[in-house]
């Protein structure tokens, strides 16, 4: 034992100078960073602001959006084969993330604004969101992180409502960010909340208790071991804290390792020193108490300055549970402060005799470092008699009266032997008192016993050191391997309930094609169609003005934005609910508003009269059409009404229809919907995965006018179902009318819903399984020269009447609805149970880019 001590004392002498120099240098180096919030991640430290991502809908597996760095940045990971485009502040493409890496659009102001947490920058003049994108590759990764200012608080003062009542929870704002993914808009919605933090008092107490226990430990028999343990625990807590931060630091391994080690590699310098010191202290190298003091003071003050707010704020950038993080900070501050005092006190209690008298650096009295200090033992012995309780009180009072810091430093400075007799040890609390008093009983124990105790301590110190090193390595490994950027779970407070996916879902308004035709994939639950006639004398400019108003309002409504009219309140608190607005032109528009009759495209040739039909002309046709879909009846109504009001005075309502389908969540999302006859309706529609789907549904003919290319032609038929007659039929008869089973939708030729119908299959008695007059036999493209259409019908009910609002989309009705309906009208078995009541035909122009209006190129180049 003596040898070890000898070596360590010599080493300590030599090491002391540079140790202290390094510690002082570190402190100086860290001063400015400490003041500048060293423990921030992405520019955010502990905060009561909570950014929550409530939904990214529709969800796409492989596309992951997360709020990272406590709301400072958004992170998008895309591991799919298609790229995701993040939209900027004006809905322009800002970033592209995909298999091809990450690209930024230099024409998007977001490219410049999103590099900085507070957007303090200048956007170059050529960054015009309406200009063509100028893509620039920034990385090969499939992940991008950016400061999206839509998700966090940007101001250097609190929100007014929060400032007025900072201790209550507030919903500061709702936010949304759109992503484009192969034609679908993935809509991210979330909120920014103020969640007040907890009371810091328990943590203050933990700090005080930890500090006092460390100081008290000096006056126990196991002072060295306990101090070594405290130093080890301090470092472990600091490592844990740093690991918590590094784990939420988004970035690559070096970035996260540097977050782990702190600014200027503090961790790398201080932790090993601390651990070495802990081991040496455990080996009774009293001298290293000063290193414990330095390390403790440094870590404690840095932690207090940087991280104290975690005690009273609701969230912090850390992967640790909030209370564990708070406890870790409290332990570092408390243990560190305790060691700051305990180091010198340890020296004062155990300093070698030579130091007491001469301070000569060469004197190495072996006895100095022997177990126990007779003088202290005597002192404690002296107080031993009498009831423990009274002794504690007396000593505590004395200890508190004397300033332990100044007492400690004075004693060391002056080097007066026996100084401690005039400054009794600080003992607070009965347990500490007992611990302090107990050594008096066995201080005279045999040397073997003391030696055994030393061996024990040495083992303990080794474990401690190994444990500390292990903790550092383990944490570093975890950081290198772990996944960063899990959204920080909001804690505390009770933010308002986020809207479910149904209400929060937004369908893009802008794009190559109008929404509401093939997007969203599952037709919304509600439909309102309004057909308009132009007012007499409306000119080109009037019509164009109307379309401009509709475009602007539809863009706002479909994104869930208010219009600023009194109708806004109908949807206050409601989400956009997949609202789409689709605008179309009837054949009768051509010849009005300065549009030549000859400009009517061939696709818009009025429908012929079909055999046996008796239509209600007042509720048919129309110059203009508004097709409003949403997953909510109020949202659809509000939008239709607002747009109807905006049509005045150029257009007035001719007729309108309300339709319904199953609400989302009622049936599986991909399930075929049912009509009021109980059939699965839509099974054999053209599928988006079909090669010719686009050509069937959208106008791709280069001969078509520009405004129509990318558009689609809609046939609307209100078809009444004679349900009283229908419901008298037995199920088998009903199934033969269509040619499919009612329950599964399987063709009568056998199989499942999606099994292709075999029109040649016969039953046992030789009859056709799918009868000759069955609806699907007559309607199927194979028997109609390939004529096809996309049917997205809705049910309606009006008093006693009920039926189908038949909506069919196609590139050209002459190769879609018209030939099919001609056959059906002649021989369809279904005709006994239905009656076509109204009819209309509209051409929907192609979609609209931001800044343009629907049907803009209908008016040619001449300014209206």
């Amino acid at each position: 034992m003596g040898r070890i001590v000898d070596i360590s004392v010599k080493a300590s002498r030599r090491a002391l100078h540079w140790l202290l120099a390094v510690a002082a240098g570190l402190a100086a180096a860290l001063l400015p960073t400490g003041a500048a919030w060293a423990h921030e991640v992405g520019g955010v430290g502990a905060t009561n602001f909570t950014t929550t991502l409530s939904a990214l809908s529709p969800a796409v597996s492989g596309v992951r959006l997360a709020v990272v760095e406590n709301g400072s940045r958004l992170e998008l990971r895309n591991t799919t084969a298609r790229e995701v485009v993040v939209r900027g502040y004006s809905d322009e493409p800002y970033a592209r993330i995909g298999p091809d890496g990450v690209w930024l659009n230099d024409s998007s102001p977001a490219t410049y604004l999103n590099t900085d947490r507070f957007a303090s920058t200048t956007v170059p003049a050529d960054a015009d969101p309406t200009a063509a994108p100028r893509w620039r590759k920034i990385s090969d990764d499939t992940v991008h992180r950016w400061h999206d200012h839509r998700i966090h608080w940007m101001l250097s003062t609190l929100p007014t409502a929060v400032a007025a009542a900072p201790t209550t929870a507030h919903r500061v704002s709702d936010w949304h960010v759109d992503l484009d993914y192969g034609g679908t808009v993935l809509s991210a919605t979330g909120s920014l909340d103020w969640a007040p933090g907890p009371s810091p008092i328990p943590w203050y107490l933990l700090v005080a208790v930890a500090a006092l226990l460390v100081v008290a430990a000096v006056f126990t028999r196991r002072a060295h071991a306990l101090l070594a343990a405290a130093l080890g625990a301090l470092i472990a807590a600091d490592v844990l804290h740093a690991a918590g931060i590094a784990l939420v630091t988004a970035g690559n391994v070096p970035e996260r390792i540097s977050a782990f080690l702190g600014d200027g590699m503090t961790g790398l310098l201080i932790w090993p020193f601390g651990l070495v010191a802990a081991v040496l202290i455990a080996k009774r190298a009293t001298f290293f108490g000063f290193v414990a003091m330095g390390v403790g003071g440094l870590l404690s003050s840095m932690m207090a300055l940087d991280d104290a707010p975690v005690w009273w704020r609701s969230s912090a950038p850390s992967a640790l549970p909030a209370d564990l993080n708070r406890a870790g900070v409290a332990l570092v501050v408390g243990l560190g402060a305790g060691l700051l005092l305990a180091g010198p006190l340890l020296w004062r209690r155990f300093k070698p005799a030579s130091h007491r008298t001469t301070g000569s650096p060469t004197s190495t009295a072996q006895g100095d470092l022997a177990d126990g200090d007779p003088q202290v033992a005597e002192h404690l012995d002296g107080t031993a008699p009498g009831p423990a309780g009274t002794r504690v009180t007396g000593e505590a009072a004395e200890g508190l009266a004397a300033d332990p810091v100044s007492a400690g430093s004075t004693s060391i400075d002056s080097g007066i032997a026996g100084e401690h007799e005039s400054a009794p040890p600080v003992v607070l609390g009965a347990r500490a008192a007992r611990a302090a008093a107990s050594p008096t009983l066995d201080v005279t124990a045999e040397p073997e016993q003391a030696g055994a105790a030393t061996v024990g301590r040495r083992g303990f110190a080794g474990t401690l050191a190994a444990g500390g090193v292990g903790a550092i390595l383990g944490a570093a490994g975890g950081i290198a391997a772990g996944t960063p950027g899990e959204p920080v779970a909001p804690t505390g407070g009770t933010p308002a309930e986020p809207l479910s996916g149904v209400g929060a879902t937004r369908i893009a308004f802008h794009g190559e094609r109008q929404a509401g035709i093939t997007t969203p994939a599952r037709p919304q639950a509600r439909l309102r169609i309004v057909a308009f006639d132009l007012a007499d004398g409306v000119d080109r400019a009037g019509l164009q003005g109307l379309l401009r108003r509709w475009t602007q309002a539809a863009a706002q409504l479909s994104q869930g934005l208010p219009l600023g009219d009194t109708g806004d309140d109908v949807v206050t608190g409601a989400g956009p609910s997949s609202l789409t607005v689709t605008v179309g032109f009837g054949p009768s528009l051509f010849g009005k508003a300065g549009l030549p009759a000859a400009a009517r495209p061939a696709e818009l040739t009025p429908l012929p009269t079909f055999p046996g039909e008796q239509l209600d002309p007042a509720h048919s046709d129309g110059d203009l059409c508004l097709l409003v879909h949403a997953d909510d009846a109020l949202v659809a109504f509000r939008a239709a009404r607002a747009l109807t009001r905006l049509a005045a005075p150029q257009a007035r309502v001719r007729w309108q229809l309300d339709g319904f389908n199953n609400s989302p969540g009622v049936t599986p999302t991909a399930a075929t919907g049912r009509n009021l006859m109980g059939q699965l309706d839509g099974t054999n529609n053209p599928q988006p995965t079909d090669e010719d789907f686009t050509a069937k549904v959208y106008v791709t003919d280069p001969a078509a006018p520009a405004w129509l290319r990318g558009g689609s032609v809609l046939v609307v038929r209100r078809i009444r179902m004679l349900l009283d007659d229908w419901d008298t039929q037995p199920r088998e008869a009903q199934e033969r009318v269509i040619g499919r089973r009612k329950d599964t939708g399987a063709p009568l030729s056998g199989g499942e819903e999606r099994t292709p119908a075999n029109f040649g299959t016969t039953t046992g008695d030789g009859a056709l399984a799918i009868p000759a007059d069955a609806h699907i036999r007559l309607a199927t493209p194979a028997f109609n020269n390939g004529a096809a259409m996309l049917r997205r019908g809705y049910s309606y009910s009006e008093g006693d009447a009920a039926g189908l609002i038949f909506l069919a989309w196609q590139a050209d009705p002459r190769r879609g609805f018209i030939p099919v309906q001609q056959r059906l009208a002649a021989t369809d078995a279904l005709n006994r149970f239905i009656r076509h009541e109204t009819s209309a035909l509209f051409a929907m122009p192609h979609g609209v880019a931001p800044g343009d209006h629907l049907g803009q190129d209908l008016f040619g180049d001449d300014p209206a």
Binding site: L16, L20, A24, A27, G34, W37, F49, Y89, S90, P109, L113, F118, A119, T121, T122, V123, P129, H149, R150, H152, W153, M154, L155, S156, T157, L158, P159, T160, A163, P166, T167, V172, S173, P196, P200, G294, G297, S300, S301, A304, L305, P309, W312, L340, H355, G359, P361, V405, S409, I412, D413, R548, Q552, A553, Q556, L563, G564, D565, T566, L646
Partner: protein
């Protein structure tokens, strides 16, 4: 020798803690200490949004200048006008860029306005109502003006 270093090492962190403790709650940043004690609160002016009316010129156009700044405010925050042509001039007196959207049918916003830049937009409003004018960059942070047509 070592003993001479000791007080300095001891004093250094103590002085550090003291300095920052004395510098008060500003130490804890915009959100302040416990219970937002000493937090940065918005100036009183922002608490009561002032409204100002656009002034009609001889040509019948109503005009008003709106200051946008680094406090993420529009001053006046509420602009009142009568139906008709309104010319809105946005003057950015700060360094942070803004982009004011006009939630008015058929109107487009200002586009990016850099620090010290100015942008003028003219809108035609026929319907009385309250039309939001949020900043596209700072809307979430409460930078939202309104145009009231009455």
């Amino acid at each position: 020798m070592s003993t001479r270093f000791t007080p300095r090492v001891l004093v250094l962190p103590a002085a550090l803690v003291l300095t920052f403790a004395l510098s008060g709650c500003a130490l804890w940043g915009l959100e302040g200490g416990p219970d937002a004690e000493g937090a940065a609160t918005p100036p009183a002016a922002a608490t009561a949004p002032p409204a100002a009316a656009a002034v009609q010129g001889p040509d019948g156009v109503q005009r008003i200048e709106i200051i946008v700044d680094d406090e993420l405010r529009l001053t006046p925050q509420v602009v009142t006008a009568r139906p008709g042509r309104i010319e809105l001039t946005f003057r950015n007196t700060g360094l942070t860029p803004h982009d004011i959207a006009l939630r008015i049918p058929a109107a487009t916003g200002t586009g990016n306005i850099n620090g010290s830049a100015t942008d003028t937009v003219t809108v035609e409003v026929t319907e009385p109502g309250t039309y939001p004018m949020p900043c596209l960059y700072h809307g979430t942070s409460g930078m939202r003006g309104t145009l009231e047509i009455r």
